[in-house]
C-alpha cells in the first residue's frame, strides 16, 4: 500500500557465545512501510531486539539482506552506519538513556547539535518537549524526573529532527500502565501528525492494542503479521 522503508530479506543472525552458536534469527522476512505503527511481539529470546538492532544499523546480519531507505546495510562501513543512525533514524531505548548531567532540553539539543542543526535547535528542542507535555520540566535533569517523564524526553530526543523511522525496543518496560499508555498515545499522535513511522518491540498486551500492525516472532522467525484498523482502536476515543 505504501512506500517500503525497510526491507528485511531472509536474514539470519548468529551469535557466538563461547563455543555455542546461538541462532537468534533464522531466515526472517519483513517489510516496514511508511506510516506503520508496528508492534513486534514474541516471547523473550525470540529475536525482537536482534531484529531492531539490524534494522537500526547497530549490527550486521550473518546472512540475508537488510536495506534501510534503499541502502544495503551490509555494504556500509561503521562510519556510514553511524551517520545513517544519526541523520535518519530515531531510537528510544528501555530506560536510563539520557545524559545524566544535561537537562531535558539540553539532552534533546545535544542530539540535534550532533545532527548538524544550527542555532534554532534550542527552540526545536523546547517545542518538541512542549508538544510531549514536558515544557514545564524542560530544565530538569534526568534524576529530577520520573521514569515516565524520562522516557518522554527520550521520545522527544528521538523525534526532534523528524526522522522517517523511529525504533523503540521495549520503551515501556520500566513504566506502569498509565505512563505506558501515555507514551504510546504520544507516539501514536506523532505518527498521525508528522507522518513518522514507528516500530517498537513489547511484551505488553496494552501496548500492542495501540499498534496498526502486529508482527509476532518465535524462534527467530515471523509467525504472524496482522494489520489492524487503527480507527477501531478502543483507546483512540480517550485520546
Amino acid at each position: 500500500m505504501n512506500n517500503t522503508l525497510v526491507d528485511v530479506k531472509n536474514v539470519t543472525k548468529d551469535y557466538r557465545a563461547g563455543k555455542v552458536i546461538v541462532h537468534a534469527l533464522r531466515g526472517l522476512d519483513l517489510a516496514i512501510h511508511e506510516g506503520d505503527f508496528m508492534s513486534i511481539v514474541g516471547p523473550s529470546g525470540s529475536g525482537k531486539t536482534t531484529l531492531l538492532n539490524l534494522v537500526g544499523a547497530l549490527d550486521t546480519a550473518t546472512s540475508g539482506e537488510v536495506s534501510v531507505f534503499g541502502n544495503d546495510l551490509s555494504t556500509m562501513g561503521r562510519r556510514r552506519r553511524a551517520d545513517l543512525r544519526l541523520k535518519s533514524l530515531g531510537f528510544v531505548f528501555q530506560a536510563y538513556n539520557l545524559i545524566p548531567v544535561l537537562t531535558a532540553r539540553e539532552n534533546v539539543e545535544f542530539v540535534l547539535e550532533l545532527q548538524g542543526v544550527g542555532s534554532e535547535r534550542r527552540d526545536i528542542a523546547f517545542s518538541t518537549l512542549d508538544d510531549l507535555g514536558m515544557g514545564d520540566l524542560a530544565d530538569r535533569q534526568p534524576n529530577e524526573l520520573s521514569g515516565g517523564q524520562q522516557q518522554r524526553v527520550a521520545v522527544a530526543r528521538a523525534v526532534a529532527s523528524r526522522p522517517r523511522l523511529v525504533l523503540a525496543d521495549e520503551p515501556t518496560a520500566n513504566l506502569d500502565s498509565e505512563n505506558a499508555e501515555a507514551l504510546l498515545q504520544m507516539m501514536r499522535h506523532l505518527r498521525d501528525e508528522q507522518a513518522m513511522t514507528f516500530v517498537f518491540s513489547t511484551h505488553d498486551p496494552l501496548v500492542v492494542s495501540y499498534a496498526s500492525r502486529v508482527v509476532t516472532l518465535r524462534d527467530g522467525r515471523v509467525v504472524s503479521d496482522e494489520l489492524k484498523d487503527p480507527t477501531s482502536d478502543a483507546h483512540e476515543a480517550g485520546n
Binding site: N53, G56, L58, D59, R79, A82, D83, L84, R85, L86, K87, L89, F91, F93, Y96, N97, I99, P100, V101, L102, E106, E109, F110, V111, E113, L114
Partner: protein, 413 residues
C-alpha cells in the same frame, strides 16, 4: 574545536563525583604548589648567588692584561687605565667600570709582620651599594695614605682605626716598595680575600706604592642589563685600547658557578617531573574511573550515531578542565606562599634546626643561608603547561577504551 555542549557536559561531569574530583584537584594543586615553592627557593638562591658573584667581586665583565690571571703577577698590568675607563664608559650598556690593583704585601704594626693583600681601588667608582666600599662612610675613608682593613684580618691582628701600619712589598720593577699608612677603618666584606687579608687603599696610593702610574690589574665592569653581557664583551674587545687585553664575561671567569646554576635549574626540573608524575597518576585514575563508569552512557550515545571522536573530546575536555582548575589553585597557593615569604626571606639554617644563620665562603665569595624566594613567570608557565600536557596524556587510555567500544555491547553494561 570544543563546542559549548562538550564543555558543558565535561564541566558538569566533574561535579558528578565531587569527592573524586576534589581529590584529583588537590593532587594537582599540591603538585603545582610544591613545584612553585621549590622553584622559587632555587631561583631566590640562584639570584643571590649571581648577585654575590657579579656584585662587588667579579662584576659582569672583567678586563685584564693577558696571562695576569695565571699567577696574578704584579707586573702584568693594564696600561692607560684612565683613558680605557673613559672609553669603556662610553658604551651605552656599561653602568660602571672600576679599576683595581691586587698586590700581596707584608704588613706590620710594630715589629712583627703578617701577610696581606693590598687592594687598590677607585673610591668613587666603588662607593655604590654593590661596590667594594659601599657608601660615603667607607669610600670617604680612603686616599691620602689612609687604608681600610678587612674585618677578619683586623680581628686577628687586633688592628684598630687610628693605628699606623707599614706595608712592604715589591714594585713592578722588582724593587722593594714600602710606605706608612693610617688605618681609617675596618671593613667587613662578602669578598673573602678582602675580609680576611685585605688592606684597601685608593688606586692612586697603590699606583704610587708599586710604581705603576696609570696602570691597574683589573677593570671590573657592571652592566645596566646583565642579559647584554655577550654583546658588550664583543664591543669592548674591538676597542683599539683593549686590542691586547682580555675581555671576559663572568661565566668564563667562574665557570664553576655556571655549573652550579645549571645544576639548580636541573634540580627544579627533576622536582617538576616527580611532582607531575604524581599529578598524572591522579588525573589518569580519575579519568579512567569516570570513563568506565560511563560505558553505558557512551554506548547509548554511540548507538544514536554520535562519533567516538566527540566522546573522546568530552573526556579530554574534562581532563583539561580538571588540570586547569587544579593548576590554577596550585598557582594561587604557590604564588601566595612565595609572596608571603619573599619579604622576610627564608633561613636555611633555621630550617635545618640551627639557631643562627650561617655564611659560607666558596671560591672567594661569601654566601648567606638566608634566601629570598622568587616567583618566575616562566616557572609558572612551565608548571601550567606541564599540567595541561599531563592532563591530555592521561586520557590516552580512556580514549583507547572509547574508540574500541561497540555501541550495543557498551549499552548492555
Amino acid at each position: 574545536m570544543v563546542s559549548r555542549s562538550t564543555l558543558r557536559i565535561a564541566w558538569r561531569n566533574l561535579g558528578r563525583n565531587r569527592k573524586r574530583t576534589i581529590l584529583a584537584l588537590s593532587a594537582i594543586a599540591v603538585g603545582q604548589l610544591a613545584f612553585l615553592s621549590v622553584a622559587a627557593l632555587m631561583r631566590g638562591f640562584g639570584e643571590q648567588y649571581l648577585d654575590s658573584i657579579t656584585g662587588p667581586m667579579v662584576g659582569h665583565i672583567q678586563i685584564h692584561a693577558p696571562r695576569w690571571r695565571d699567577d696574578r703577577s704584579i707586573d702584568v698590568t693594564l696600561r692607560h687605565v684612565s683613558a680605557t675607563i673613559a672609553e669603556v664608559l662610553q658604551d651605552p650598556d656599561v653602568e660602571r667600570a672600576s679599576p683595581r690593583i691586587y698586590a700581596p704585601a707584608l704588613a706590620a704594626l710594630e715589629v712583627e709582620g703578617f701577610m696581606s693583600v693590598v687592594v687598590g681601588i677607585d673610591p668613587a667608582a666603588e662607593s655604590h651599594p654593590r661596590g667594594l666600599v659601599p657608601g660615603e662612610h667607607l669610600s670617604g675613608q680612603l686616599g691620602e695614605h689612609r687604608v681600610l682593613v678587612g674585618a677578619a684580618l683586623a680581628q686577628k691582628q687586633t688592628i684598630e682605626p687610628g693605628m699606623e701600619i707599614a706595608i712592604v712589598g715589591q714594585d713592578v720593577d722588582g724593587s722593594i716598595a714600602n710606605d706608612l699608612f693610617t688605618v681609617s677603618g675596618v671593613i667587613p666584606s662578602a669578598i673573602d680575600i678582602v675580609h680576611s687579608q685585605g688592606i684597601v687603599m685608593s688606586l692612586e696610593d697603590a699606583q704610587e706604592l708599586f710604581l705603576m702610574p696609570d696602570q691597574a690589574h683589573e677593570i671590573v665592569i657592571h652592566l645596566s642589563n646583565p642579559d647584554r653581557i655577550g654583546d658588550v664583551v664583543a664591543r669592548l674587545s674591538s676597542l683599539p685600547l683593549l686590542r691586547d687585553a682580555e675581555v671576559l664575561p663572568w661565566q668564563e671567569i667562574l665557570p664553576q658557578f655556571v655549573s652550579i646554576l645549571k645544576l639548580m635549574e636541573g634540580y627544579i626540573f627533576v622536582v617538576l617531573f616527580i611532582v607531575f608524575l604524581a599529578a598524572a597518576a591522579g588525573i589518569a585514575n580519575t579519568m579512567l574511573m569516570s570513563t568506565f563508569e560511563r560505558t553505558h552512557e557512551f554506548g547509548m550515545l554511540l548507538s544514536l550515531g554520535c562519533g567516538p571522536g566527540r566522546l573522546s573530546r568530552i573526556i579530554a575536555t574534562e581532563a583539561l578542565l580538571l588540570g586547569l582548575a587544579g593548576v590554577s589553585i596550585g598557582t594561587a597557593l604557590g604564588v601566595g606562599l612565595v609572596a608571603l615569604t619573599s619579604g622576610s626571606g627564608i633561613d636555611y639554617a633555621a630550617l635545618g634546626g640551627s639557631a643562627s644563620s650561617y655564611e659560607a665562603a666558596f671560591a672567594g665569595i661569601t654566601m648567606s643561608s638566608h634566601t629570598f624566594p622568587k616567583t618566575y613567570v616562566s616557572d609558572v608557565a612551565v608548571g601550567v603547561i606541564a599540567v595541561l600536557l599531563t592532563s591530555l596524556l592521561s586520557v590516552t587510555w580512556p580514549v583507547l577504551h572509547i574508540v574500541r567500544l561497540e555501541p550495543m555491547e557498551a549499552m548492555r553494561s
